[in-house]
């Protein structure tokens, strides 16, 4: 197989006496959706926060496109091409779709002076937004709609679109379809499939087995801070995955 987009090796993280992560290793590949599974408190969120630069792991290494990096902050992660979509969505309800897609990544006009002043290039941002949404097949009634007036699924889609709009090749999604209706969930799953076809490496954190079988290629299970399984989704039954998650099985 070609070089992993992201490869985390022996990641450990403790909070006082609690060993939240114990030597967890995992690789994400381009064009592959990897599920990160585990019960509450298994260490999924801690692991994602280590990759996203929110936490500094106590031990272990993270390599992106083959180069080792210390991810010092969320911005640093973003600069390295790792984008996270959190459960609590980072979208602004009073800004419209384009404004959200380009928030803190605004395109400016007027050369270097315009860039220093931050003169917004609204027309270009709108055109780029249209192109991005079309590429990902995200359907929004109008780019001028404020996020607050959109449905949960559309808001989620904008948040994910924001994550990949700038050619970010590694995307971490934390329960992206939580609290969504059936049709909206399907839309988000379709979007994840589009990302995969686009060559993005996706890590999908979820509780929902149906989502794993629907869109994921690989599954990694954490149990009490340790990795207990790493399998191709096609090679394992749903029941076996559940057994790993609940801890009744601990080895393949």
């Amino acid at each position: 197989m070609n070089e992993p987009a992201l490869s985390a090796t022996n990641i450990s993280k403790a909070f006082r006496a609690v060993q939240a992560l114990d030597n967890v290793s995992l690789s994400l590949h381009h064009g592959t959706v990897t599920a990160l599974l585990g019960d509450n408190g298994a260490g999924k969120s801690t692991f994602v926060k280590c990759l996203a630069g929110v936490y500094q792991p106590d031990g272990g290494t993270i390599a992106i496109e083959g180069t080792e990096h210390r991810i010092s902050s969320p911005q640093n992660a973003r600069d390295l091409g790792v984008e996270t979509v959190h459960q609590a969505l980072a979208v602004i309800d009073t800004l419209d779709v384009t404004e959200n897609l380009f928030l803190n990544r605004e395109i400016t006009r007027g050369g270097s002076l315009g860039n220093r002043l931050g003169i917004l290039h609204k027309r270009r941002m709108r055109a780029d937004s249209e192109a991005t949404l079309a590429r990902l097949d995200i359907r929004i009634p109008s780019l001028r709609h404020e996020l607050g007036s959109l449905s949960g699924g559309q808001r989620q889609a904008v948040a994910i679109g924001r994550a990949v709009a700038w050619g970010q090749k590694i995307v971490l999604l934390d329960e992206p379809a939580a609290a969504l209706g059936v049709e909206q969930t399907q839309r988000v799953l379709d979007l994840i499939t589009n990302l995969r076809n686009d060559g993005v490496a996706v890590l999908l954190i979820t509780h929902n087995m149906d989502r794993v079988t629907a869109v994921c290629d690989q599954a990694v299970v954490l149990y009490q801070g340790r990795k207990t399984a790493e399998v191709a989704v096609n090679d394992i039954t749903k029941d076996d995955l559940v057994a790993f998650i609940t801890g009744t099985r601990k080895t393949i």
Binding site: Q75, R78, A90, V91, I92, E106, L120, S149
Partner: protein, 330 residues
């Protein structure tokens, strides 16, 4: 040609429907209110000289300092903060200007006053973001502190300004038929509008005001944004102090001290949310003109100062009630 005109009504309807989705028609209510109040007073006060050019000019001149303060307050509210110290900042900067103009000329007077105001804003901002006290409480504190300093500045006495350049430039003078006060207001309003809606900074202010956690999550430096918004508010108040000093040719401890409610009313009826994230500079300036127009109309109707205060209070409550309803709807 005919084709485009026949398409117009449906296009307009579509645009209106879209507008409703994009944040409501409420942002236009202030302009409608402006026209309605203008017409009402024009009819009711026909014989009292409301619609004379000298009275309209008077309204414009009176609204100028309020409008400048309102532009600044729009930034503070937009960022999810509030600045209650603008009135006392006006007073202190008028005294600073009056003091400096005599010895160092008009430029040092104006710039010195604005610099002092900026320092007040810096203090407000630093305490708010570093000590993590809500700006509501911080500026309530500095309101008292700055008022006290202003009262002590010249033992409650007013300081006369005898500098024709200063008074001409910042109040009494005019460019052709247009009062310099109106030119300054238009200038500040345009600058504020462009900053808020055409610059990255403005967008980050609104994002921070709407949802500070989300703004942080996308990497916006919300600490810097909030600090800067409170500095804009204070700086604008300082300039309003210069304009008041110029118009009245004095610096005095009570200038602007009663304007806080008027400024907040102007900004909120202009469509800016008291809870951050939504802001309109043109609305705030229009709101300031509405407040001056009401003030003027109520005086011509023979209302006392006390009645005006009551009217202003009612207007604020109604405006805030509308703004709350909008918040709950979205």
């Amino acid at each position: 040609m005919t084709r485009s005109t026949s398409r117009l009504p449906s296009a307009l309807k579509e645009r209106l429907a879209q507008q409703r989705q994009e944040g409501g028609l409420r942002q236009y209510v202030v302009y409608l209110a402006f026209v309605l109040i203008l017409i009402t007073f024009s009819v009711l006060l026909q014989d009292d000289g409301f619609l004379t050019s000298s009275n309209l000019l008077n309204i414009g001149r009176q609204s100028a300092p309020i409008a400048v303060m309102a532009v600044g307050m729009t930034f503070a509210l937009g960022a999810g903060e509030i600045d209650l110290s603008v009135g006392s900042t006006v007073a202190l900067s008028s005294l600073v200007a009056a003091d400096l103009v005599g010895d160092y000329g008009f430029a040092v007077g104006a710039l010195g006053a604005i610099l002092v105001a900026m320092l007040i804003g810096l203090l407000n901002g630093l305490i708010t973001v570093k000590v993590r006290i809500p700006s509501f409480l911080v500026t309530l504190g500095t309101l008292g502190i700055v008022s006290g300093i202003a009262r002590n500045w010249n033992n409650l006495q007013s300081l006369p300004i005898r500098n024709d350049t200063f008074t001409g430039l910042f109040g009494a003078g005019s460019l052709g038929p247009v009062s310099s006060l109106l030119i300054w207001t238009a200038l500040i309003g345009t600058l504020g509008h462009l900053t808020l809606h055409q610059l990255r900074w403005g967008r980050h202010i609104l994002a921070t005001g709407a949802d500070r956690d989300a703004a942080n999550a996308v990497g916006i430096n919300t600490v810097r944004v909030r600090l800067s918004a409170l500095m804009v508010s204070a700086t604008a108040a300082g300039f309003a102090g210069v304009l008041l000093a110029g118009r009245l040719a004095i610096g005095r401890h009570d200038l602007g001290q009663n304007d806080l409610l008027t400024v907040i009313a102007a900004v909120v009826i202009g469509g800016t949310s008291l809870f951050g994230g939504r802001a309109s500079v043109t609305g705030a300036v229009t709101g300031a003109v509405i407040m001056a127009m009401l003030n003027n109309g109520l005086i011509l109707m023979g209302l006392e100062v006390a009645d005006q205060m009551i009217a202003r209070g009612v207007i604020i409550i109604v405006a805030v009630a509308l703004s709350m309803r909008e918040q709950r709807e979205s």
